[in-house]
């Protein structure tokens, strides 16, 4: 696409219809020259994409079919699909998948509801709206690792702000170790993650909201539709493309969740927060089983591809074009 657009405009401008046929040759040469120029312009991007995406993916695919027990191993027997079989038959893999699914569903759902509410508020006319809009984006601007460190402090069992707040309000009698129970810890991770990513969702949806023509709301008013009816009959259908887009993005991101787990709980307690990415990391690097780790990463890729394909199909069926 980029090549075509880079080449066509000048050719139109120097189109042969304005000049005699004798001038065709230099035009062709110029076209070639520009094609070459475009190639050089694109080369860095191509090398980068190949270097950081295509090559590692092919290499990982290759490694996933060998038994590689050390990064400096000189002997690595070919084992075919054994690593995939081992992953799919291990309890740890499915438990991690289950936790990841839970994390994905709950965090994406939470972010969607909160994001929609925030977008709805930010779309209303009020004084100082620009300031609030700027403030809302702040959590998203924080690096995940900083966000994780901050929430780890908030949840701290001895001096955490959450304990301070809840005991100050008289809701709890004594300080709680929020991250000490496996399932509770997973839910608290979700809250920390949602706090950071809800602004992104809100902004996507806000962009969608601002593009809904006001006439539609006026028409709804004339038809005596209430606020709720208007929301579900006008806003939601017209916002659907934005919602779908943000769902795809957030689902893929949530399935891949790693850094917040690494920084806050390191998968504990009792593996309660060990998501599939973290499980892969532990398998590949802590246990030095690179073959199995690579196979699991490919299984994650398959899950993400399947989810994306599903979303895109749903979109097409509902006749809403995404691109």
């Amino acid at each position: 696409m980029a090549v075509a657009t880079a080449v066509t405009p000048p050719s139109r401008e120097a189109g042969p219809q304005h000049r005699g046929t004798g001038e065709r040759k230099p035009v062709k040469r110029r076209r070639e020259r520009q094609g070459r120029f475009a190639f050089w312009l694109l080369l860095p991007a191509f090398i980068t994409v190949f270097g950081v995406i295509v090559y590692p993916m092919l290499r990982t695919l290759l490694i996933s079919m060998f038994e590689v027990k050390s990064a400096v191993a000189t002997v690595t027997p070919f084992v075919g699909l054994d690593n995939y079989v081992q992953a799919l038959t291990s309890g740890g893999f499915w438990e991690a998948m289950g936790r990841t699914l839970y994390f994905t569903l709950v965090s994406t759902g939470l972010e969607l509801v909160l994001g929609l509410a925030i977008a709805w508020l930010l779309n209303a006319e009020f004084r100082g709206r620009w300031l609030i809009r700027a403030l809302v984006v702040l959590p998203w601007a924080l690096p995940t690792i900083v966000n994780a460190a901050m929430w780890k402090g908030i949840y701290n069992a001895q001096y955490g702000a959450l304990n301070g707040l809840l005991s100050g309000l008289g809701i709890i009698d004594e300080y709680q170790a929020w991250l000490s129970d496996p399932f509770t810890a997973l839910n608290f991770l979700i809250v920390a993650d949602a706090w950071k990513t809800t602004p992104l969702v809100a902004f996507f949806l806000l962009a969608g909201l601002t593009s809904i023509p006001n006439e539609l709301y006026e028409a709804a008013k004339m038809d005596r539709a209430g606020r709720i009816r208007t929301f579900f009959s006008v806003t939601v259908p017209l916002l659907a493309p934005s919602i779908a887009l943000v769902l795809v993005l957030r689902t893929v991101e949530a399935v891949k969740v790693f850094d917040i787990v690494y920084a806050m709980t390191r998968g504990g307690p009792a593996n309660g927060t060990q998501t599939i990415s973290y499980y892969t990391y532990v398998t590949a690097f802590s246990e030095q089983n690179y073959g199995l780790g690579s196979a699991i990463s490919y299984l994650i890729v398959i899950v993400i591809l399947a989810l994306s394909a599903l979303y895109l199909r749903l979109l097409r069926r509902s006749e809403m074009s995404l691109l």
Binding site: L62, I63, A71, T74, S180, T265, A270, S286
Partner: protein
């Protein structure tokens, strides 16, 4: 087909063990642990002094937390990015069998056999070869808050056994001096294994039998875990312990939230530093259990040279300096020396008498974690199962049965 053609070769891209001796000059990249033992400032001082003595060697230190150290060593191994790295006593088998660390046996002077503490010399030994120079003995000691102990009328003698500790802890809790008098580093991490090791030893157990099979589901292993769980149920152990690393235990003690905690020998320095700690801290060897032993977990570390380092001579030069008696004696408040004669140097012992005294006792009965090549996997399994018992998801017996089954499974596989 292409993949099959590759059978027998390596997909890692490494055809043979790289690395080289170098010419004894140039840059030495060193990877150190961030917490416990020598601080970043200590290393900076030592490196500055070393570079003055060796003007043509330049040492570039990098620091990571203990929890990130293993993975950093492993992932940087193929490129040989680090000439020197600090390894834990539990890794030599893994790193040696996977070709990550260089064999240093030929570089070890014979005189070290006599000069170095016999318990310390084999810190990084695997199959009769040395893969690292020890940086002194290290074990977990028992720290306590003197004021709280005195306020309930207890003495040091009462803290000689775990039964005594629980009794004093109950009194401290009843007096309202501390909500949870004991804190432990029971997060899902190696720290949990270290604490469990000391309890296992106190109950007379061991990790493995003579065949190297895990046996912690026997009577002693289960009794140790049941004891740990009971301290949570009795409200004596801080329930947040299952999220704590050593650093969190140290902080809880320094703030006066808790009376007792196991921690590394270098912790005393922090607990006695008025800018960090508000308490009057005391230290003892780990208390005795039913076995009568007071075994400290062997938590020594060592400095190794990367198998793919291209500057191994200069790296050795630096390690020799770093672990020399002169340097180690200077930093006894951060870590105990390797050298036997340091322990009879009265002037030196005077500088850190409490630690010298208790470390000696703890080392007499020290307990080792299993020296197996896939220790990391075995440790992960035990961490998770022990936590399940501590959180009440499984009985201690069930959890340890499951741990043993899973660990022996991967040992065979």
């Amino acid at each position: 087909m292409a993949a099959i053609a590759l059978t027998g070769c390596s997909v890692t891209g490494v055809s043979n063990a790289g690395g080289g001796t170098g010419d004894g000059t140039g840059t030495v990249n060193a990877l150190f642990m961030k917490q416990a033992g020598y601080t970043e400032d200590d290393y900076a001082e030592i490196i500055a002094a070393f570079e003055e003595e060796h003007p043509d060697i330049d040492v570039e230190p990098t620091f990571v937390s203990y929890e990130a150290l293993h993975d950093k060593i492993v992932t940087s191994a193929p490129s040989g990015s680090y000439d020197v790295f600090q390894i834990d006593v539990i890794w030599p088998a893994e790193f040696a069998s996977k070709g990550i660390v260089a064999d240093l046996t030929d570089r070890f002077p014979d005189s070290w056999n006599d000069e170095m503490l016999p318990g310390v010399l084999p810190t990084a030994e695997y199959q009769d070869k040395f893969y690292g120079v020890p940086n002194g003995p290290a074990t977990k000691l028992f720290y306590f808050n003197w004021d709280m102990v005195a306020q309930v009328g207890a003495t040091e003698e009462d803290l000689a056994t775990w039964d005594g500790v629980l009794d004093v802890a109950k009194r401290i809790k009843d007096e309202g001096l501390s909500e949870y008098p004991i804190a432990w580093s029971w997060a899902q991490a190696e720290a949990l294994i270290c604490d469990y090791a000391q309890m296992l030893g106190a109950f007379g157990g061991e990790f493995t039998n003579d065949d190297g099979e895990l046996i912690i589901n026997n009577e002693q292993g289960v009794a140790a875990l049941e004891w740990m769980k009971a301290t949570i149920d009795d409200g004596l152990t801080n329930p947040a312990s299952t999220t704590f690393l050593e650093d969190d235990v140290s902080k809880a003690m320094a703030q006066g939230d808790t009376a007792f905690g196991l921690n590394w020998d270098s912790t005393l320095r922090d607990l006695q530093d008025p800018s960090i700690s508000s308490i009057n801290a005391g230290v003892l060897p780990t208390p005795a259990g039913p076995s009568g032993d007071r075994p400290g977990v062997n938590g020594a570390m060592a400095y190794s040279i990367g198998a793919n380092s291209t500057n191994q001579d200069a790296a050795w030069e630096f390690i020799s300096y770093l672990t020399s008696q002169g340097v180690q004696d200077q930093y006894v408040d951060a870590g105990l020396p390797n050298w036997s004669s340091s322990y009879s140097d009265e002037a030196l012992v005077e500088t850190n008498p409490e630690i010298f005294e208790v470390a000696e006792a703890a080392y007499d009965d020290s307990i080792l974690r299993p020296a197996v090549p896939n220790y990391s996997s075995v440790s992960q399994i035990i961490q998770v199962e022990v936590q399940k018992a501590l959180l009440g998801d499984k009985t201690p017996q069930q959890a340890l049965d499951d741990a043993v089954a899973a660990a022996n499974d991967i040992q065979e596989g």
